[in-house]
């Protein structure tokens, strides 16, 4: 029973982190129909921002996520203004290739400036802290990240459903020309969506430095999983991303423990394929 609970909590905690990584990607994809291939590298940059702030200024990731979120908001908006906007409307492949190029630049820039070394923050407030729930041991840094994820996703959902900005984003996603005719400045919406997408992944990265090593390749597998989460949950759907991420976290965790650790990612992709075959729009697609 202890093992079952432990595996369950591991899956939930990992799933919630995946949900926050995927939320920004989901918004960008859902609203603009743009696949941000540099999403994993955005996560990596967020982690580096938090790491260096922690390293030089001794600020704990519990607080430095604000800086990494803000930095990535600006970076996301700048990416839209300088790269995406110029590639939109040219060909479907143009933004995709542009963000792929950006991912290469970011990864190699960090490799060059910071070396490929693995960097772990030591002495953080939550380091090494655990709590026991029914015999299962939960890591407090991971729990904190998951809790932040839940709160942020709730805020994001509330913003999309209950605010004028959220309605404008949804309207732009449904029909950008009609939205523009209704007086919505779609250009600004796109800019904001890219910024929010960046901020989500920046905040996640900022928090993750409390328990995960930072290195230039750290975002690769997270970004792959984020793509699966978005496609499984439905493009642009925050509840979809949350549910899909939890499903993926649990599948990964239970398969890893009860079947074999080496097939856990294979199981994730198998579930994704099965759901997509039955429901191509994903669980909650717009």
């Amino acid at each position: 029973m202890n093992h079952f609970l432990q595996v369950l909590f591991d899956g939930l905690l990992n799933g919630l982190v995946y949900a926050l990584v995927a939320a920004g990607l989901s918004m960008i994809w859902g609203v603009m129909d743009v696949i941000n291939f540099a999403h994993g590298e955005f996560l990596m940059v967020g982690m580096y921002v938090s790491y260096w702030i922690g390293f030089f200024l001794d600020v704990d990731p519990l607080f430095s996520w604000i800086a990494s979120g803000a930095f990535l908001f600006i970076m996301g908006a700048a990416t839209y203004r300088l790269i995406i906007r110029n590639s939109l409307g040219k060909s479907a492949m143009a933004p995709l290739l542009a963000t792929f190029g950006l991912s290469m630049v970011l990864k190699n820039f960090c490799m060059n400036r910071f070396t490929p070394n693995f960097r772990l923050l030591s002495g953080t407030v939550l380091e090494g802290k655990t709590i026991s729930v029914g015999g299962a041991i939960l890591s407090v840094p991971q729990l904190a990240t998951a809790a932040f994820a839940l709160v942020l996703l709730a805020c994001l959902y509330w913003m999309l459903k209950r605010t004028r900005l959220g309605w404008a984003i949804q309207a732009t996603a449904m029909d950008s020309e009609a939205a523009e005719l209704m007086g919505i400045r779609t250009e600004n919406i796109y800019l904001l969506v890219f910024g929010i997408g960046g901020a989500c992944v920046g905040i996640t990265g900022g928090l993750m430095t409390s328990y995960l090593a930072v290195y230039p390749e750290v975002g690769s597998l997270f970004s792959l999983i984020a793509f699966v989460v978005v496609a499984l949950g439905g493009f642009g759907s925050i509840p979809g991303a949350l549910l899909a991420a939890i499903i993926i976290g649990l599948v990964e965790s239970f398969t890893g423990f009860y079947v074999a650790a080496v097939v856990k990612y294979a199981a994730v992709f198998a579930v994704y394929l099965a759901v997509i075959l039955i429901r191509p729009k994903g669980l909650f697609g717009w």
Binding site: D10, N14, N117, F118, I137, S139, L212, Y215, L221
Partner: protein, 419 residues
């Protein structure tokens, strides 16, 4: 008019002579490929290996007094040839390693390639060399399968996983017999790659020989986002000893995850992994303490048995890498120095002659723990030696065998909440 023609002819001749001179100068270079994972999950180790080869090349190319290392006192090879290192990145991918090896031999025209750290990359890259009848020298890749292919142009310095696994089980036998350790069960956690799988296979074979029961066999995908279920599987089986084969970031993730779930075996011994990398250990700080691993170099070991390695580290390696040698990277430098000696003995850049010398002669190697290097058919270094170390406060203390021992092992590992 005649004057003009004569002037033009003289100018052309002078120009031609000048160009020939340049060509001659360019010819006084021996190109050696350095094929490592400079990006990707193993990039930390790959960069260290490359820096190590560059340090060895600098040592060969200049004339340095005060080093009791072959080729240090003379400038270059064969009376003035400089070694030029051509860098190549295989990203940890076997297919890229193969194509980069082809590029190095066919387009860059390298005389030999040194590499490639990941056994999975070394395998196809050295197959390219074998087909092309070109030399491939391998420092750190430890998969035993590499030297079981009976290749003629492949030479490897590192002890194989088979040698290390036997050493691990010898040590367990020693602990059981001399210290009453009562180690009866074994868990294995390893990356699901050529290296990891071979290391695990050799670990199982060695365990079977001493009657150690394997209760957990946990391969994982490298570059994982988490190792929760992997560590849970180990914890559920609760083996007395664990053999680990996890590189770089995966190693630190493994250690941190064990801390999260508050579990440790009695001993954890690592094949050539993130354990050996001082940069990884520095980041892990105290969490890395009490783990063990097979090594053929550590600064502590070198003080007594390999003093020249420390001098080379100080003068050539540290300025490039800003850190100490590690067991893996040092072996790549050794292979360049061995190749240099073979070229000197051959007296010319003839691949066949150099290969013959590599295959038959014994080389002085103050940068190796045994002090010598000699290869058996298939290319394995029969002088390869490694010891078992245990890390504490960022120091790799040698705990086995007795001959090299400089500290008593801390056994069982200190629990997480008592550090």
């Amino acid at each position: 008019m005649l004057r003009k023609i004569a002037f033009t002819v003289v100018l052309c001749v002078l120009g031609a002579l000048l160009l020939t001179g340049v060509a001659v100068a360019e010819d006084k270079v021996i190109k050696i490929g350095a094929l490592f994972p400079l990006t990707g999950p193993s990039a930390v180790s790959g960069q260290n290996c490359l820096n190590s080869v560059l340090a060895a090349a600098e040592l060969i190319n200049g004339a340095y007094e005060g080093f009791d290392v072959p080729l240090a006192a003379t400038e270059g090879l064969l009376g003035g040839y400089k070694v030029e290192i051509i860098k190549a990145d295989h990203q940890g991918k076997p297919d890229v390693a193969k194509s980069e090896a082809e590029r190095l031999y066919n387009q860059e025209g390298v005389f030999a390639v040194i590499g490639s750290y990941n056994s999975a990359a070394t395998k196809p890259a050295s197959a390219v060399a074998e087909r092309a009848k070109k030399l491939f020298l391998c420092g750190a890749s430890s998969s035993a399968a590499l030297t079981e292919r009976e290749y003629k142009y492949f030479f490897r310095h590192a002890p194989t996983d088979a040698i290390e696994a036997t050493e691990f089980t010898d040590y367990i036998t020693y602990l059981n017999e001399k210290k009453g350790a009562g180690i009866k069960t074994l868990g294995l956690i390893y990356e699901n790659t050529e290296f990891g799988k071979h290391a695990a296979d050799e670990g199982k074979k060695a365990a079977a020989k001493i009657g150690l029961e394997v209760v957990a066999d946990v391969p994982f995908n490298n570059g994982a986002t988490n190792l929760s279920s992997e560590v849970q599987t180990l914890k559920a089986a609760n083996p007395d000893a664990v053999f680990g084969a996890a590189l770089g970031g995966d190693y630190s993730l493994w250690v941190r995850t064990m801390k999260q779930v508050n579990w440790l075996p009695k001993i954890a011994i690592n094949f050539c992994t993130g354990y050996q990398n001082p940069a990884v250990q520095k980041e892990l700080a105290g969490d890395g303490d009490y783990f063990m691993g097979g090594m053929s170099f550590s600064p502590e070991l070198a003080k007594e048995f390999m003093p020249e390695a420390l001098k080379v580290q100080e003068k050539f390696y540290f300025p490039l890498a800003n850190q100490e040698f590690d067991s893996d990277s040092l072996q790549e430098a050794v292979m360049l120095l061995v190749l240099g000696q073979a070229i000197e003995k051959a007296g010319e850049l003839d691949t066949e002659k150099v290969r013959e010398i590599l295959a038959t002669e014994t080389f002085v190697s103050p940068l190796s723990l045994s002090g010598e290097v000699a290869f058996e058919p298939g290319g394995q270094n029969i002088k390869a030696l490694s010891v078992i170390t245990q890390i504490k406060d960022l120091k790799y203390n040698t705990i086995y065998p007795e001959k090299f021992k400089n500290a008593e092992p801390v056994y069982p590992m200190a629990p997480w909440d008592n550090r």
